[in-house]
């Protein structure tokens, strides 16, 4: 098991480097003068500005050198002997579309996305699995039919359409659940010096500060994004759990357990469900990827200040520096989540690690 984990860990940086090289190659399609436009907001009066940018950022350098500079930093043209940038030095560069260092942007946005995906992920697993098990156990009964309808609608509903519908009904018309991450009045409290931000996760910090009103406000803001983000995944988990459970319930050892007089509850919970969850564990890794992709649309619709909406904004402004940084972080999360899933899978099914 330990060897297996070490092997997986060694592959991780290679995957990450491969990903960044791919992104750089895509950038390379643009010529230096087009790429210099990525560093400015508007059309300058003078071509010298563009040339200055090309020189300053080394856009005429060979691609491998540019890539290297991005990794370890480049000589500072304004201060001899100094080095600027370099993601390995913790410097992701300056975000043109947000007018601030990318690190600051990551620090501000990552906790919001983490909070949203954490709150979304658990219901996906719990609700999806529970519904799937119920549908399989009550095969072809009304709950199974209802679950089918639920999953078909979930599959066929585009995320942005669902999000806008929810927003217009439950926010604009009924005003039950607001958008954004927190109310403006609560924001003023959070910004005040009396309020301590321990984790930047508002729901956690609110409890640590003893402010249940803030916790409740944050929860209300999370409802619509979570439903939007989760619905498709609920449907997917439901279907996978249902078919896996149906298949398991038809296995001979289940029949044997029943023949031995085990209660139906024990048959389902102790014998069938653990084995039926193996494909579910696999899919949970894919779900993390889906959620990270889904936050782009969900956060943009609900103006939720997370990494997804920032990445969408940066991409729309051709803010390559920011997009690269977000890609790096997202890639890292995906690789880590895949590692966890692989280990989990290996624990559930010994045949995996032995192979």
């Amino acid at each position: 098991m330990i060897n297996y984990i070490i092997r997986r860990l060694l592959i991780m940086p290679i995957t990450l480097v491969g990903m960044t090289i791919l992104i750089f190659l895509m950038l390379w399609i643009l010529g230096p003068s087009a790429r210099s436009a990525l560093y400015i907001r508007d059309i300058p009066k003078n071509e010298a500005v563009m040339q200055g940018i090309i020189t300053k950022y080394g856009l005429n350098d060979p691609i491998y050198m540019q890539y290297w500079h991005w990794l370890v930093g480049r000589p500072d043209p304004d201060n001899e002997g100094e080095v600027v940038g370099g993601i390995l030095r913790g410097e992701f560069g300056f975000s043109r579309s947000f007018s601030r260092p990318v690190v600051e942007l990551l620090q501000a946005r990552f906790p919001a996305t983490l909070e949203l995906t954490l709150y979304a992920f658990l219901p996906i697993i719990l609700v999806g699995v529970w519904l799937g098990v119920q549908a399989a156990v009550r095969h072809n009964q009304w709950i199974d039919q209802l679950a089918r309808v639920f999953s078909i609608v979930g599959y066929s509903f585009p995320v942005f359409v669902l999000g806008i519908l929810l927003m217009m009904i439950f926010y604009a018309q009924l005003r039950w659940f607001p958008v954004e991450r927190i109310s403006d009045s609560v924001k003023m409290v959070i910004l005040s010096p009396d309020y301590r931000q321990y984790t930047s996760l508002i729901t956690v910090d609110a409890i640590l500060n003893g402010r249940l009103d803030i916790w409740w406000d944050a929860i209300r803001h999370l409802v619509l994004p979570i439903i939007t983000l989760s619905y498709t995944s609920w449907a997917a988990f439901l279907r996978i759990t249902r078919s896996s459970m149906l298949e398991t319930l038809r296995q001979e050892y289940v029949t044997t357990a029943r023949a031995k007089g085990a209660t139906e509850k024990d048959v389902i919970n102790k014998h069938a469900r653990p084995n039926a969850l193996i494909p579910v564990a696999t899919y949970s890794g894919i779900t993390v990827a889906y959620l990270l992709g889904g936050v782009v649309i969900t956060e943009t619709i609900f103006n939720y200040p997370g990494m997804g909406s920032a990445a969408a904004n940066a991409a729309g402004s051709f803010d390559v520096v920011t997009v690269l940084a977000f890609t790096m972080v997202t890639g890292l999360i995906l690789i880590l989540s895949n590692l966890v899933v692989d280990i989990l899978y290996a624990m559930l099914d010994p045949r995996i690690r032995l192979s």
Partner: protein, 654 residues
């Protein structure tokens, strides 16, 4: 720049459907006097973007300007919504020849300053602070800053109107925007130039005045101080927060900064003005302003203007990408005002409009129960026009001009050097369609280069109208011929008009040319092509576009801001206007700026307009009206198109 995707269009359709179907009852607060949930906090949701920088010497974009004009004060400001009348702000009077503030020869302008005005830091504003603000601006300049507006009159008209032109008049040293090259210049020459600037902007602390010594008389000089580039900063605060400290031995180290450089320090990401609002936070999703409770204004700047601390204690400017999200916030009462993405969003919002106001502020109630108010046909200070490229760059190939010759499949690089072609394009443009498509019919065709109603605008002068017959005649009169001697009319041509993706205004222009020119002769193919921003900018910078469609927002309400830009300045330079044409324009541009008598200036600009019409170097399009939508509980609103969006000091809520 807003990207209008299929998803966005679909989104708008859904929103419209939901609004039209009115899928829920209106909450009581909308039908009970339109009262805001929080009368002291104002929330505006704008299209994503946010400020570029909060350094007033460098900022030159509307989003930055909006923050600056609320946090900083200027020496003079516009009288409410009147663009042509100034009132004193940090000055005690507007300098004129009558009150002695402007010398008889127009070369000396003195501002008398208010006493007792305090910066947000608590320090009192001095004449030294005021002089330093402008000295620093002139010396930090660079081509992507508004400082040319001061350099031109103070230092004399030059190529770029940048301070380094004084050391490099023929641009042979390449100093423009090049700090490293400037630092290598002779230290004595650098210090000398700084002293020259200081001798032109002189503080007198005893008299509490600041005097400007101009290189030439300058008609629009005083009005230039009303823009946010005229913000007054505290010298000590600037020096303590990463900016120049006023030492003539070091100014070159601070020349032509980028927003990236200044925003790493408080200099660019912080603010310390004397204005009605203090900067509380500039986050990645919003800017929060809080009221300056010690604001110095004790007498109204104009009749009916507010005094004392602002009524709105907090202003939150949010940057929200999606129109549907902004609109939902408006319906929920969480936003007091929102920006529409484009005129295509107006009909959706109109469904919720209960009152309509015009530019004069005259309002009518359309539906007592509906929550929004719209301000229609609002004055604007910008216009989009189409400029012909006289020398299209073909280096490394140019797909925009096809074969590069008259053979029915391209155009030669100097295609637009033929005046008949330029006139034909002018006659083939349909202004009514443009106004309909871009501004839902709210707009007026422009007469001249300067804005409608501006000094020099001549409604009775010549201007082009949509006339397919004249368009045909001009094309037939073209001297272009194919290699085998056939006329352009018989041979045809093909060219591509590029516009940046998402810009619906530019797209409309390109498509109107495409449709109308091919209608005149099917052999004439003008294709419109959407380009992503980097590709568009590259094509524009390298002069590969056969003609470019671009907008100009005026800095000051003066024709010089237009005539210079459209000839010797930013756009004229990109067009590659022939020297003989420039030689005709330049004297008129310079005379118009240096003349201070409005009647004489009008006559000069009349000549300029005539010359511009006769040579048709561009297609002057239309002034499209703007709209503003807000909640009905917002009071005190008026439009001044020279403001950078909103001036919150004048607003309050029911």
């Amino acid at each position: 720049m807003r990207k209008r995707t299929l998803a966005t269009t679909f989104t708008t359709a859904i929103v419209a459907l939901l609004v039209l179907s009115a899928c829920g009852p209106k909450a009581a607060d909308f039908s009970a006097g339109f009262k805001s949930k929080d009368p002291t906090t104002f929330v505006i949701q704008e299209i994503a973007g946010g400020p570029d920088t909060l350094d007033p010497t460098l900022a030159y974009d509307t989003a930055s300007g909006e923050i600056l004009q609320n946090v900083y004060d200027t020496l003079v400001t516009y009288k409410r919504d009147v663009k042509t009348e100034l009132v004193p702000m940090l000055a005690t009077e507007v300098p004129t020849k009558e009150n002695g503030g402007v010398s008889a020869d127009g070369l000396t302008v003195t501002f008398k300053l208010r006493k007792g005005v305090k910066f947000h830091s608590g320090s009192e504003m001095t004449a030294d602070d005021v002089a330093f603000s402008f000295q620093r601006g002139v010396l930090s300049a660079g081509s992507i800053s508004p400082q040319w507006l001061f350099i031109e009159p103070l230092m004399g008209s030059t190529v770029w109107n940048d301070i380094v032109d004084q050391l490099d008049p023929d641009e042979s040293k390449g100093l423009i925007d090049n700090r490293e090259a400037l630092k290598a210049e002779d230290p004595a020459a650098l210090a000398g130039l700084c002293e020259t600037v200081k001798s032109k902007i002189v503080a007198d602390n005893a008299a509490n005045t600041v005097t400007f010594h101009l290189a030439q008389p300058w008609g629009p000089f005083v009005i230039t101080f009303a823009g946010f580039w005229g913000s007054i900063q505290e010298q000590d605060w600037v020096a303590a927060n990463g900016g120049w400290d006023g030492d003539c031995g070091t100014w070159q180290n601070y020349y032509a900064p980028t927003s990236e450089e200044v925003n790493q320090k408080q200099l660019g990401k912080g603010a310390n003005g004397t204005g009605p609002y203090k900067l509380k936070e500039w986050g990645d999703t919003e800017v929060i302003l809080e009221s300056n409770e010690d604001y110095w204004v004790s007498k109204p700047l104009w009749e009916g203007a507010p005094t004392g601390a602002p009524k709105l204690k907090t202003v939150i400017i949010k940057f929200v990408e999606e129109f549907s999200t902004r609109f939902a916030a408006m319906l929920a009462g969480d936003a007091d005002m929102i920006q529409a993405g484009s005129a295509q969003d107006w009909p959706v919002m109109d469904e919720e409009v209960g009152a309509t106001c015009d530019q004069a502020g005259v309002c009518t109630i359309d539906d007592a129960a509906k929550p929004l108010v719209r301000y229609v046909n609002q004055d604007v200070s910008n216009r989009t026009d189409a400029f012909f490229n006289f020398k299209i760059n073909t280096e490394g190939g140019n797909d925009f001009i096809g074969s590069g010759k008259i053979d029915g499949n391209g155009v030669p690089p100097d295609f637009f050097s033929d005046i008949h072609i330029r006139k034909a394009f002018n006659y083939c443009f349909d202004w009514d369609i443009y106004i309909r498509d871009v501004a839902q019919g709210e707009g007026v065709q422009a007469n001249n280069v300067m804005l409608l109603g501006e000094l020099g605008d001549d409604p009775d002068g010549d201007h082009y109208t949509y006339d397919p017959a004249m368009c045909e005649a001009e094309f037939k009169a073209s001297t272009w011929k194919s290699e085998d001697g056939k006329s352009l009319w018989d041979t045809g041509f093909r060219l591509i008009v590029g516009y940046n993706a998402g810009n619906t205004s530019r797209q409309a222009v390109a498509q109107i040319f495409r449709d109308n020119i091919s209608a005149v002769n099917p052999k004439f193919k003008v294709e419109s092509q959407s380009l992503e921003w980097p590709n568009y900018l590259e094509a524009y910078q390298t002069k590969k576009l056969p003609f470019f469609i671009i907008g100009w927002i005026e800095d000051i309400p003066d024709p010089h801001n237009w005539t210079f830009t459209y000839t010797a300045g930013a756009f004229g330079g990109k067009q590659g206007l022939p020297q003989e044409l420039l030689d005709q324009f330049r004297p008129l541009v310079e005379q118009g700026a240096t003349e201070t008598d409005p009647a004489k200036r009008t006559a000069i600009y009349k000549d300029f307009n005539k010359l511009y019409f006769e040579n048709a170097p561009a297609v002057i399009l239309a002034q499209t009206g703007a709209r503003r939508y807000m909640q009905r509980w917002v009071n005190g609103y008026y439009t001044n198109s020279l403001y950078s969006y909103n001036y919150y000091y004048v607003l309050w809520k029911s």
